[in-house]
């Protein structure tokens, strides 16, 4: 009963806040007055002055995209060098050695692509300096990059015969200082109030009650946790991520962290509604996402509470924390995988087979059920274009979206964007399963072992970052394979999305007629859900059968591995 109340209150709060944040973000990116302007307006102007950005200059899609790619490339190079040199740099309180080259590449790519896959544990690998200058910065700007691309796409869809999509630098600045930074400041403060740590002190040597020595690692954690949740990054300050008592000390901090990791993605749906001047459009997308979320949550809860014949227990507590219990662990696992966050408060590897499958499937669908900040919105718009196209084929009319014709070029780009992460997931999993290096670090046997590899590449391709953690990935093979997967999964979508934005912006808007296929009613919601499930199902069902599904049936028969 208590469990049900927690879930319902969480979902209600989400529904109540998302439209408000969405409206606020619309004002931010349209350049109107909003509540944060008096607070940080000076900072915006100062950034433009320091960097030489002309805030009135807009550009076409290729220039916008060039800015995105270049800025991300610089980010990867800087973060790579920072890790390779951390031993020689200050704020390395625990005297940690330089990070290996392949882990540095993996981590640099991982944080720049908003994935935050971690082949390491923060407390014994990364200095405070790397955590701040490297990881925290990318938590902000990779999220900002996602939001900017989404806003550019929205402009492309809603502007009439335009060439320009806005300025990447202005959008990025605004997303960081008006949206992410204020929320991160508030959340950091609230988390510290619950017991999350925020200090530059050395780790502490304690002598426990039983007389043994315990080293307690410290650090500026709360500020990084706040942004890793808000920016759907998910990379923990500590290895145990949001299961660590210093990262997530109480049920209330857990509630805040769950809300933080979905709220901007959910809000952006309504931002889109404001640009399209149609609340119904926004609600249609929101409902689609919400229904898919609810289905996954239902299956996951049912599975987690069901009896496990192998372990002879219902609702096991392996890899879960007492203060959260089972319901909050399952809710977190679903929320963090529908969005591309990937922070965890329970170990996904130890979830029941079908709960693990729901997490994996959420990622495989392309991180479009709310999804990453920005990337969730442009991801679902890709699926909307596909749906509109298929509906158009059915009735024999040229497909239209928001009054603009969807033609061959847009469809080619759409298909590219849908295929890019799928190729990573299936092809890379196949490679890893067939070479010794891919199988060497497997811990669990049987179908669960296959699930671990499949999950790793889903997480990389979908830019999620959560893991079936038993798979050892801090080696050349996995660090490099996953890094390539993350790059394809991120930029293999951003490039076609920007191309679509550019070509849609140029088109005329034809007025609505009785023949227009509406994209803001129940019929469309059902159609969209079906397309998402059919595409996801056809692509990934065979792989699922080999992993979690067969494991589920074997578990019911009491077969262990």
């Amino acid at each position: 009963m208590n469990d049900a109340i927690q879930l319902i209150i969480f979902l209600l709060v989400l529904i109540a806040i998302a439209p408000l944040i969405g409206k606020f973000m619309a004002k931010v990116f349209m350049g109107e007055n909003h509540i944060m302007k008096p607070v940080f307006g000076w900072l915006e102007k100062m950034i433009y002055r320091l960097t030489g950005i002309d805030s009135n200059e807009e550009c076409n899609w290729t220039t916008y995209l060039f800015g995105v790619l270049l800025f991300n490339l610089y980010g990867i190079v800087f973060l790579f060098l920072l890790q390779m040199l951390q031993a020689f740099l200050p704020l390395n309180n625990e005297n940690l050695p330089n990070v290996s080259w392949h882990l540095s590449i993996n981590t640099a790519v991982s944080f720049v692509t908003n994935t935050n896959w971690q082949s390491y544990s923060g407390e014994n690998t990364m200095s405070y300096l790397v955590q701040m200058l490297g990881l925290t910065v990318q938590n902000f700007v990779s999220a900002g990059t996602g939001i900017s691309v989404a806003i550019a796409l929205i402009r492309g869809l809603t502007r009439k015969t335009a060439d320009s999509l806005g300025s990447f630098w202005v959008d990025l600045t605004r997303s960081v200082i008006y949206v992410l930074l204020p929320l991160a400041i508030v959340l950091t403060f609230l988390l510290v109030g619950q017991g999350a740590i925020q200090t530059f002190s050395h780790s502490i040597k304690a002598t426990t009650l039983q007389g043994t020595e315990q080293i307690i690692p410290l650090g500026p954690a709360a500020s990084q946790i706040a942004i890793k949740q808000l920016g759907t990054n998910g990379g923990g300050f500590f290895g145990a991520n949001s299961a660590h008592p210093f990262e997530n000390p109480t049920p209330f901090s857990n509630f805040l962290e769950m809300l933080a990791l979905i709220i901007i993605s959910a809000g952006l749906v309504f931002t889109y509604g404001h640009y399209a001047r149609s609340k119904r459009q926004a609600w249609a997308i929101f409902l689609t996402m919400f229904i898919l979320l609810a289905i996954g949550l239902g299956v996951s809860l049912w599975s987690e509470y069901s009896h496990n014949t192998v372990l002879n227990i219902s609702g096991n507590m392996e890899g879960k924390e007492t203060r959260f219990g089972i319901a909050n662990s399952v809710l977190f696992s679903v929320i963090t995988t529908v969005t591309s966050c990937g922070a965890v408060n329970a170990m996904h590897d130890s979830l029941s087979p079908l709960s693990g499958m729901v997490s994996m499937f959420n990622i495989m669908l392309g991180e479009i059920i709310f999804g990453g900040v920005g990337s969730g919105l442009y991801g679902i718009i890709i699926f909307i274009l596909l749906t509109v196209f298929i509906a158009g084929l059915m009735v024999g009319r040229t497909p239209e979206f928001l009054g603009k014709k969807v033609e061959a070029f847009e469809m080619k780009m759409t298909i590219l964007a849908i295929l890019a992460p799928s190729i990573v997931i299936k092809l890379f999993t196949a490679i890893a399963c067939s070479v010794p290096a891919g199988l060497a670090t497997l811990t669990n046997a049987g179908p669960h072992g296959f699930s671990e590899i499949l999950y790793a590449f889903s997480s990389a391709g979908g830019n999620n970052g959560s893991a079936f953690g038993a798979l050892g990935t801090n080696n050349i093979f996995y660090n490099m394979m996953l890094a390539s997967g993350m790059i394809i999964g991120r930029f293999g979508i951003i490039v076609p999305v920007m191309a679509i934005a550019g070509s849609m912006a140029k088109k005329r808007i034809t007025p609505e007629s009785s023949g227009t296929f509406r994209t803001d009613n129940w019929l469309f919601v059902m159609m969209l859900i079906s397309i998402i499930l059919i595409v996801g199902g056809l692509t990934f069902f065979p792989a699922m059968v080999l992993g979690p599904i067969v494991e589920h049936f074997l578990m019911n028969l009491g077969v262990g591995f």
């Binding site: 403060f189 500026p220 130890s350």
Partner: protein
Amino acid sequence: MKAQSIIALKFLIVMIILTGLLYPVVMTDIAQLTYPSKSNGSLILKNGKIIGSELIGQKFDSSVYFWSRPSIIGYNPVPSGASNYGPTSDTLKKLVESRRESFAGNNSITDISTIPKEMVFASASGLDPHISPEAALIQVDRISEARKFNTNQKDKLFEIIRELTEAPQFFFLGQERVNVLMLNIEIDKIDENN
């Protein structure tokens, strides 16, 4: 193009200073001022020495203390972590069976189905500071016997558990739980006072 590449570089530097330096430093200052104890790890002092953190669980296996949950890292926090055993893992099955047996044996439990789940499964962080109140109550007999408590002192034990049990936050969030380290600090006081 050239203009863009210079802007990108300058922009990265500005962001590093703003979000990588100013943001964490200012937040640390605010945190240190407003929550000095919590921001430094909720450390617990006893006779001037640090005996641990309220939030970080400790290993307890002596019969005179409440036991904490199984931990795959033995409550050594560098690094934190979990077993990551899957739901059909035979290794996990054997581990759980042996934990059940030893917990039942040590606490004179005849019906193993009454053992709270968290006492046979390892936590996610390996540092879980809590157990359920049921898991504490089930250990009272063993501790009283080991400490040779009289009935008065044993009643005191029940009282401590009641006092330290944290209800779900704001009545609905999370699970009822009790902090093992805080419990054990209190039992030591019973011994000293009587």
